[in-house]
Amino acid sequence: MRATRFKAAVVIAAVSALVLSGCADSDRDEPDAGANTDATLIFGTEGEITTLDPTWTSDSISSRVNGQIYETLVRLAPGTVDIVGGLAETWEADETGTVWTFNLRDGVTFHDGAEFNSEAVCFNFERWHNLPPGLAQSPDMSYYWQQLSGGFAENSPDRTDLGDPLYVSCESPDPLTTVITLREPSAKFPNLMVRQQFGIHSPDALQQFDADNIGGTPAAPEFPVYADEHPTGTGPFMFESWDRANGEVTLVRHDNYWGETATIARLIFRAIPDENARRQALLSGEIHGYDQPNAADWDTLESNGMRLEIRDAMNLLYIAFTQDQNPALEDIRVRQAIAYALNRQAMVDAVMPDGAEVASQFSPPLLPGWNPDVPAYEYDPDRARDLLSQAGFEEGEFEIDFWWPTDVTRPYMPDPQSIFELFRADLEAAGIVVNAISVPWTPEYLAEVQNGAAGAHFLGWTADFPDTINFLGTWFSRPLPQWGFDNQSIFDGLAEADAEPDSETRYAMYEELNAEIMEYLPGVPISHTPVAIVFAPNVTGVEASPLLDEVFATAQISE
């Protein structure tokens, strides 16, 4: 019964994918008569890319640049969260949900002229599956493959968190058909594969330029020649040069692209780390656009004629408690006291952009699985003090190490310092002693807090793909040092949801889980924040993507 309904659902998905991809094609605008197709578009980024082989990256800047060079089997329709066909036109699973057949697009060539076919696809999957133990399997290196498959052909012996890989094998019965076998069904497959990290590379180039020869250490990796100089994908743009001194990556149009060729001739990504500098560069015409303008600048930018596009808030900012680090946090009353002490609404009003809202649970309202009836924690400092004294802590007796990151802005956290200062004041007003520990985002913050060094800390998440499991599953599917707790009921609930093939049932399970998590309160969800992207007035054709996955191939710059 389940299997048949599952199969039906998948067929429907496949058909709609076909239809939608067709629609997407025909909806694309014809270039304006006045638009300049020899144009160069310059986009300001918040920093430098890590490298040009997305296998090794997880940061948003590298993802953005690499997303123009490579393509994945499935992708997001521009400007939406709908999953449509990329290099695969259709796909379906069998009754067991473990054997997936992808029907590939014909007539696709790589940038080096090699032909794209199912052998190339399998070569790529086998490459990831067979990444050798050691540095290549480090959580900093192949993060997304680990998210998808959870393991490799041979796991590094010291990595106790790697298990049996989800991926089993890949076959190419004919040049345009790929069959991938999984160990068990999963909600992540193939949805997670919209991420640029699953872009398909040219096997010839991978072999010629020694793409797996990665050396050094996780903090100072030495990337192979392929990753630094010869990225070869199928996308609408090809790599031309990387000027490290000035932080500029230059891409050029791929004339043999299978779809509509790019409407601009060159695409340059320039690193301008200071947000003020980015804004000024845009206002003075030196760049054509940039990502995540400060909320404070939205009005200025719009009144200067800039095109500000605000994306839906597919993210979450939260405070996590690490119960292992501070045993007092194991008492639910203490955790609740902290939640009541924080005036989240005031912070959101003062610091976050228009459209931001206080989060009531650990997933955003836009995704199915959001539960309107979870326990709420309104701002109530008196209640906070009560709960603390019930737990045995009078004024000034409860102490907590509160970590926050410096030198960073994230889509969900545009101004860490202000947010922290406001919350610290709130906590102190409730009689809690706060040990403020500020740590630079790079290199240490993530590693430290994810290893459980903090008592409480800020962190957040922007969705990889549009499913609630991407939020809840990332944090609560197994015991993690970051949260330092062991709640088998939640872990089991998430595992069940992940393996549940019927979406409606899954969404209902998510709702229950959200309620259960908010009762348990492993942390305090803070806010969902809309993230903007801004372009110069003469730039059109780039649709803002809620998952930060903008397509530049359709950009038009008019005179």
């Binding site: 160069t40 310059i42 430098e48 480090s138 900093d140 050094g216 250490t217 996780p218 903090a219 100072a220 990796p221 030495e222 990337f223 490290r244 001194a245 000035n246 932080g247 500029e248 230059t250 060159r266 340059i268 320039r270 301008i272 780390p273 200071d274 500098a277 000024q280 560069a281 206002l283 003075s284 030196e286 760049i287 410096t406 030198d407 630079p440 790079t442 290199p443 240490e444 993530l446 590693a447 430290e448």
Partner: protein, 334 residues
């Protein structure tokens, strides 16, 4: 002259040696120890063991120092934890930009400062003099990054006369030889690129020039005043030499002596100024790189930077010393 040169060169060596010892101690004093500082907190236990091995951190101190000196002499300054490129390479890539900035700032400071100081001294007590002295004092007391912001705000965002970001306009297709963009543009006859780079240099150079300008003005003024009161000038006046001759032959030459010396000091001010100014203008010189290194705890870069400037300073000192001895032969005897 040759003996003088050799003597000065020999004196340089103990200075550098002392500096290397200081740095050696400094690296080991860093929180977390050198392996954490060099690799970052996210280093795996294997990586840490590897670097402990390589640096010989479990060996006796002298052995460690020998290994450290060996790396230094091989010009191996380590790898940046931010960009994952060799530190020395990064410096060589970015230093010419800062040099260009410093040179431009010096030209402004000297070109405007010396005449201003001279005229202020000549017209002592006048409005010009008082404004000059007052202005130079305010200049020293103004935080450079604030001045940079004011310049950027006024001339960049509001008036829009000059560019305020980076060293060249994005997408500019300029050929780089020396990595000094104005010079490169001239050498390759790409006049557009040279002009573009020149415009981008203006505002940062003015900001960086502020403190050297103030110092040069005051020094020139004081120096000229001192010389004007000297006997030999009065003698020359009594002899009936025209003012112009007096000015040229005696006053200026002697007044310039301390100014030349000051260039050595100013190199320091220029470098500090560059670190603070480049960040405001997103100017890709060594200052911005070090600023990011500070914020991101990129210790290999910080250490390499200190060594790098120490070496540069010693070089600058030597050059100033030599030119000083050319101007004033008495120095050589000392």
């Amino acid at each position: 002259m040759a003996r003088f040169l050799v003597r000065r060169l020999l004196q340089v060596i103990p200075t550098l040696a002392a500096l290397s010892v200081l740095l050696f101690v400094w690296l080991r004093a860093l929180p977390g120890g050198p392996e954490v500082a060099l690799l970052g907190e996210r280093a795996t236990p294997e990586a840490r063991a590897a670097i402990r091995d390589r640096m010989g951190l479990d060996e006796p101190v002298l052995v460690q120092y020998a290994a450290y000196m060996r790396d230094l002499l091989r010009l191996d300054l380590g790898t940046s934890t931010q960009t994952r490129q060799p530190v020395l390479e990064e410096f060589l890539l970015r230093f010419p930009g800062t040099v260009e900035l410093a040179l431009a700032a010096m030209v402004i400071a000297v070109g405007v400062g010396i005449p201003l100081g001279y005229f202020a001294a000549r017209r002592r007590g006048s409005l010009l003099d008082n404004l000059t002295v007052g202005g130079s004092m305010v200049g020293i007391c103004t935080p450079i990054f604030f001045l940079a912001f004011v310049l950027k705000w006024v001339f960049g965002e509001n008036l829009g006369w000059l560019p305020t970001i980076g060293r060249q306009s994005p997408g500019a297709d300029a050929t780089h030889i020396t990595n000094m963009y104005v010079l490169d543009g001239i050498l390759t006859q790409e006049w557009d690129a040279a002009w573009d780079a020149f415009l981008h240099l203006m505002l940062p150079a003015i900001a960086v020039a502020s403190i050297p300008f103030a110092i040069i003005v005051r020094m020139t003024r004081a120096s000229v005043l001192e010389v004007l009161g000297e006997d030999y000038v009065r003698t020359a006046e009594a002899k009936g030499l025209t003012h112009r001759v007096i000015r040229g032959r005696h006053v200026l030459r002697n007044a310039l002596l301390p100014v030349v010396t000051a260039i050595g000091v100013l190199a320091g001010a220029l470098l500090s100024g560059a670190v603070l100014t480049e960040t405001v203008f997103a100017f890709n010189g060594i200052g911005l790189f070090v600023y990011n290194a500070i914020r991101n705890s990129d210790y290999p870069v910080l250490m390499g930077f200190i060594m790098f400037i120490a070496f540069t300073f010693v070089l600058v000192n030597l050059l100033v010393d030599i030119s000083y001895s050319v101007i004033d032969p008495r120095v050589r005897v000392r």
